[in-house]
C-alpha cells in the first residue's frame, strides 16, 4: 500500500466520520461533551418492553453514550425524583411520566431545563408545551378492554356506564392511580363526563381486582383472570399484536386522551447526553418504535400501523393539565376510600 493510497483512505474516512457526526447531532460540541459523560439515565413510565426497545435502539447507534433505563409507574417515578431532589441527589437526567401535573410541579419548583428536541417546531401543536420546558413524547386514549374468549362482542361493554354493570362483578380489573399516570389521567378525564365519584363508587361495588400498573390489566385480560377492564389503548394493542384474545372498545362517552410528557431535569448529571437522548427520543426512528407499539406520537413523519385509527376519527376527552394538578390528591384520596387501597 502506497502512502498516497493510505492518505486517500484516511481522508475518505475522515470525511465519512464528519458526515456521520453531522447526521448524529446538530451541535458537535454537545455531542462531544455527551460522549465524555458517557451515559444518560432515563426515568420513564413508558411500558417496560417498549421502553427497553427504545433504549436498546439508542445503544445500538454506538454513539459512546449508554441509555440507562429506570422504568416504574408514573407516580413512582415522580416520587423517586422528588425524594432524590430532597436528598440533593442528582441521578436522573431525563424524566418521562404519564401524569402531566408532574411537569407543572417540576416547573413551579424550577426543576426543569429549558430544552426543545430537534425538529420540535414541526411537531403536532397539541403535543408541545408553550414554555418549551417539556414535550409530549406520546399519547394514548384511555379505553375499555375485554377478553374475547370469555365475552362475546355483543355482550362486551360499549360504554363506561356498561363497565359498572353488576354483571361484571368479580370479573373486572382496574389499575391504580397512585401508581399509573395513565389511570390517573383517565379518571380525571372521566369524572366530569360520568357525573363525579358515584360512577367510581358503582365500579368499586363490582369488587375489581386492583392491580398497580396500566400494563397489568391487559395481561390479566389475556390470561382470563379478568374479563373486562379499563386501561391505556397502547397497553391493550400490544397484547392483541401478540395474538392474545383481547379486544379494545372506544366507549361511546369518549376516551380521555392521556399525554405523557418528557423533559430534562435542571440538575441532570449528564446534561449533554440528556440533550442528545432527547433529540433521539423525538426523531423518526424512536417515534416509529412508539407508533408501532400502538402509541400516537408528535413526530408526523412516522407511519402508523394500518389497524390504528387516526386520532381525529376518535371521540376523545381532553384532559386539562391544570385540572390534573388540582385534582391529583383528591383522586388518590377518593380512590383509597372507595377501593380500599
Amino acid at each position: 500500500m502506497t502512502y498516497r493510497m493510505l492518505w486517500g483512505f484516511l481522508a475518505g474516512l475522515a470525511l465519512a466520520l464528519g458526515l456521520l457526526a453531522r447526521a448524529e447531532a446538530a451541535d458537535p460540541a454537545v455531542m462531544d461533551a455527551a460522549k465524555k459523560e458517557g451515559k444518560v439515565v432515563w426515568y420513564s413510565s413508558l411500558g417496560l418492553s417498549v421502553a427497553q426497545k427504545v433504549c436498546d435502539a439508542f445503544n445500538k447507534k454506538a454513539l459512546g453514550i449508554t441509555c440507562e433505563l429506570a422504568r416504574d409507574g408514573s407516580q413512582r417515578v415522580f416520587q423517586k425524583v422528588m425524594q432524590e431532589a430532597g436528598a440533593n441527589l442528582a441521578i436522573a437526567d431525563v424524566v418521562h411520566t404519564s401524569d402531566i401535573s408532574h411537569f407543572l410541579e417540576f416547573q413551579q419548583k424550577n426543576m426543569l431545563m429549558r430544552y426543545l428536541p430537534a425538529g420540535a417546531d414541526k411537531f403536532r401543536a397539541d403535543f408541545r408545551d408553550k414554555d418549551g420546558l417539556y414535550t409530549i413524547l406520546r399519547g394514548t386514549p384511555y379505553v375499555i378492554g375485554y377478553n374475547t374468549q370469555k365475552v362475546s362482542a355483543a355482550d362486551a361493554p360499549k360504554t363506561w356506564k356498561d363497565l359498572a354493570d353488576a354483571k361484571w362483578k368479580g370479573k373486572l380489573v382496574h389499575a391504580h392511580p397512585g401508581y399509573s399516570g395513565v389511570v390517573m389521567t383517565g379518571i380525571i378525564g372521566l369524572l366530569p363526563v360520568m357525573g363525579g365519584w358515584d360512577y367510581y363508587a358503582a365500579l368499586a361495588k363490582n369488587n375489581p381486582l386492583v392491580v398497580q400498573s396500566a400494563e397489568d390489566p391487559p395481561m390479566k385480560l389475556s390470561g382470563g383472570e379478568a374479563w373486562v377492564g379499563a386501561t391505556g389503548e397502547y397497553n391493550l394493542y400490544r397484547e392483541i399484536k401478540k395474538g392474545n384474545p383481547v379486544q379494545i372498545v372506544f366507549p361511546a362517552e369518549g376516551a380521555p386522551f392521556v399525554t405523557s410528557a418528557n423533559a430534562i431535569l435542571a440538575k441532570a448529571p449528564h446534561p449533554n447526553a440528556a440533550k442528545v437522548f432527547t433529540d433521539y427520543l423525538f426523531d423518526k426512528d424512536a417515534q416509529q418504535i412508539l407508533a408501532d407499539d400502538g402509541l400516537y406520537v408528535p413526530n408526523e413523519a412516522v407511519t402508523y400501523p394500518k389497524d390504528k385509527q387516526p386520532l381525529k376519527e376518535l371521540k376523545l376527552i381532553k384532559v386539562d393539565p391544570e385540572e390534573m394538578q388540582k385534582r391529583d390528591e383528591e383522586v388518590k384520596k377518593k380512590f383509597r376510600e372507595l377501593f380500599g387501597v
Binding site: 423517586k80 436528598a87 368499586a204
Partner: protein
C-alpha cells in the same frame, strides 16, 4: 460441665489485669452497635413526635396516624392476619414436629428436608405462585374445579384475607416445626416411656407429658410466626392490595408515596415496635435458656411411638402440606418461568428459556440487581459473622466487663421490624452529612442491623462448643491470647462462623421489607425488582428471577448441610 463453667469464670477473673486487645474490641464493637442499633431507633422516635417542617414537637403525627378511619382498618387487618398465621402455623408445625421426632412415621427425612426448603422459601414467591394456582378466574385450581364440577364460581380466591393467611402460613409453619422438634429432641423421652409402662394410654401421655414439655416451644413458635406475619411486606402487598385492603406494613409503604409522610409513618410504626419488643421478651422468658434451635444438644433417642398402619397416613398428611407449600408452588413458578407468554396457557409449545436469558443478561435492572444483591449479601454476611464472632467470644469468655451489654445490643434488632428500621435509616442517612441514600450502603446498614441477632446466636452457640481449657492449655504453653485465639479457637470456631455467615447470607438474598423503602434506581436488589415486575404483571420474568433465587438458596443449604451437618440449621 459445672467444672468447665467455674473454670471459665475464674480464668476470666485471673486474667483481668492484663493489657491486650479485648478493651479495644469492646470499644469498637460498642461504637459500631450504637451506630447500627441505637441511632436509627432514636431517630425514629424523634421523627414520630416531630412536626414535619421541623419547627417543634407534638403528637400530631399520632393523631393523624391513628385518628383517621382509613388508617385504622389496616391495624385490625394486621391483627387478624398475624394471629391467624400464628395459629395455623402451630396447628400444622407442632404435630409435624411430633411425628418427625417421636414416631416411626414413614419418610421422616423427606419431611425434614422439605420443611427446611419451605423455611428458606420467601413468601413473596409463594404468593406469586399462588396467584397462578389459585387466582379466582384463571387460577389452575379453579379452572380444574370448574372443568370437573361444571360450576360457574370459584373454589378458592387467593386475593382475600383467608388466601393471604393461607399462603403466609405455608412458609411460617417451619418456625414452629423447628422450635418444637428442637424442644422434643432436647428432652429425653424417658418420661413418656415411664408413663406408658405405668399404664397411661397414648392420649394421656400426649396430654400430660409430651404437650407440657413442648408447650413453651410451641408458644414461642406461635409468637415468632405471629411476628413474622405482622412485619411481612411482600405477600400482603401482592395479595391484599389487589383484594382492596391494606395491612400495617403496606400502609407504611403507602405513607412513603408522594407526598411522603415519613413522620406519620414513624408514628404509625410504633405499635409494631412495641408489640415486637413485648412478645420477644415474653418468648425469651418462656423458652428460657434454650432460645434458638441452633442451641441445644441431642438427647438419647427413645423408642419411637409405633403408628402401625398410620405410619403412611401420617406421611401422606405431611406430604400434602409440603405439596402445597413446595411442590405445587415450585411447579407453578417453573412453568411460568419457562412460558413464552402467560396468556398462551399450559401447552407444550409454550416453552422457552428466553426469560432466563432476559433476566440474567439482557434486562439492565435485573442484571444490576443480581450483582447488587450478591455483593450486599456477601459483605453483610462477612461483617456480621466477624463482628458477632468477636462479641460472642469476649462475652462468653467474660474477658471484660460490659460484654453482656454488647450481647444485648446485638440481640436488640430482633425486636425491630425491618420496615420500621428502614424509616429510621431513611431519616438518618438520606441527607448530608450522612448521605447513604442512593447507594447500596444504606441497604447494607439495614441488612447488617437486621441480621446481627442471627449472627450472634449462631456464633454464641458455636463458641460454647469450644472448650476454654484448650485455650488455657495454649496459654500455659506460652502463647499469648491472640495466638491462642488464632491457633486454637479460630479453627474450632470456624464451622460456627461459616454457619453464621450462611444464616445471614441466605435471608439477605431475599430481604424485601427493609429494601422496599431504601432502594433507588441505582441501588436495586433482586427482591425489589421481583416486586416491581410483579406490579407490572410480568409473571414470566418474576418467575425466572424467583427460580434463580430459590435455586441458589437451596443449593447453598444443601452444601451447608452436607459439610456442616448438624451444626447448620439443626433440626
Amino acid at each position: 460441665m459445672a467444672g468447665a463453667a467455674a473454670g471459665t469464670a475464674s480464668g476470666g477473673r485471673s486474667r483481668r489485669g492484663r493489657l491486650d486487645a479485648a478493651p479495644a474490641v469492646w470499644l469498637l464493637s460498642a461504637a459500631i452497635l450504637a451506630v447500627l442499633v441505637v441511632a436509627p431507633l432514636a431517630i425514629l422516635l424523634v421523627t414520630a413526635v416531630r412536626v414535619p417542617d421541623g419547627s417543634g414537637f407534638s403528637l400530631a403525627n399520632f393523631i393523624e396516624a391513628f385518628g383517621e378511619a382509613i388508617y385504622q382498618g389496616p391495624i385490625g387487618n394486621s391483627l387478624v392476619y398475624a394471629t391467624s398465621v400464628g395459629i395455623l402455623s402451630v396447628l400444622v408445625g407442632a404435630p409435624m414436629a411430633w411425628l418427625v421426632t417421636r414416631t416411626d412415621m414413614a419418610g421422616k427425612g423427606i419431611v425434614r428436608t422439605l420443611t427446611i426448603a419451605a423455611f428458606v422459601t420467601p413468601s413473596f414467591l409463594g404468593a406469586t405462585a399462588y396467584v397462578i394456582l389459585a387466582g379466582p378466574n384463571a387460577g389452575l385450581f379453579n379452572v380444574l374445579y370448574r372443568a370437573i364440577t361444571g360450576a360457574e364460581g370459584a373454589l378458592v380466591n387467593i386475593f382475600s384475607m383467608s388466601g393471604l393467611i393461607y399462603v403466609t402460613s405455608l412458609y411460617t409453619f417451619p418456625v414452629v416445626f423447628i422450635l418444637t422438634s428442637a424442644a422434643l429432641t432436647a428432652t429425653p423421652a424417658d418420661l413418656e416411656e415411664a408413663a406408658r409402662i405405668a399404664g397411661a394410654g397414648r392420649l394421656a401421655v400426649m396430654r400430660t407429658i409430651t404437650l407440657p414439655l413442648a408447650l413453651p416451644a410451641i408458644v414461642g413458635g406461635f409468637i415468632l410466626a405471629f411476628l413474622e406475619a405482622l412485619v411481612l411486606f411482600g405477600a400482603p402487598a401482592m395479595l391484599a392490595i389487589p383484594a382492596r385492603f391494606h395491612v400495617m406494613t403496606t400502609q407504611i409503604w403507602a405513607f412513603f408515596h408522594y407526598p411522603p409522610q415519613v413522620e406519620v409513618a414513624a408514628a404509625y410504626a410504633m405499635p409494631l415496635l412495641l408489640v415486637a419488643v413485648v412478645l420477644l421478651v415474653a418468648q425469651r422468658r418462656l423458652m428460657g435458656r434454650r432460645g434458638y434451635a441452633t442451641v441445644g444438644g441431642r438427647a438419647t433417642t427413645a423408642r419411637p411411638v409405633a403408628l402401625g398402619p398410620w405410619r403412611w397416613a401420617a406421611f401422606a398428611a405431611c406430604g400434602a402440606v409440603l405439596l402445597l407449600s413446595i411442590g405445587l408452588p415450585y411447579f407453578a413458578l417453573l412453568r411460568a418461568a419457562l412460558a413464552k407468554a402467560w396468556g398462551l396457557g399450559w401447552s407444550w409449545q409454550n416453552l422457552t428459556l428466553r426469560n432466563f436469558r432476559y433476566v440474567i443478561f439482557e434486562f439492565d435492572p435485573t442484571r444490576s440487581a443480581i450483582v447488587n444483591t450478591l455483593e450486599l449479601a456477601t459483605v453483610t454476611a462477612t461483617l456480621a459473622a466477624l463482628l458477632m464472632g468477636a462479641i460472642a467470644y469476649v462475652a462468653q469468655r467474660r474477658l471484660i466487663t460490659g460484654a453482656r451489654a454488647l450481647a444485648f445490643l446485638a440481640m436488640a434488632p430482633l425486636a425491630i421490624p425491618g420496615i420500621v428500621l428502614s424509616i429510621g435509616l431513611f431519616k438518618a442517612y438520606s441527607r448530608p452529612p450522612f448521605l447513604l441514600y442512593g447507594t447500596i450502603w444504606i441497604i447494607f446498614v439495614a441488612y447488617l442491623t437486621k441480621y446481627l441477632p442471627i449472627a450472634y446466636t449462631a456464633c454464641h452457640a458455636a463458641i460454647q462448643t469450644v472448650h476454654v481449657d484448650l485455650e488455657d492449655a495454649a496459654r500455659t504453653l506460652g502463647a499469648n491470647r491472640l495466638v491462642a485465639f488464632k491457633d486454637v479457637t479460630v479453627p474450632l470456631f470456624g464451622a460456627g462462623l461459616v454457619s453464621a455467615w450462611l444464616l445471614v447470607f441466605l435471608p439477605s438474598l431475599r430481604e424485601l421489607s427493609s429494601s422496599i423503602l431504601l432502594f433507588t434506581s441505582r441501588s436495586r436488589v433482586v427482591s425489589v425488582v421481583i416486586y416491581s415486575l410483579y406490579e407490572e404483571g410480568l409473571w414470566e420474568a418474576v418467575s425466572a428471577l424467583g427460580i434463580l433465587l430459590l435455586g441458589l438458596t437451596l443449593a447453598l443449604v444443601a452444601i451447608a448441610q452436607r459439610f456442616l451437618g448438624r451444626r447448620f440449621l439443626q433440626i
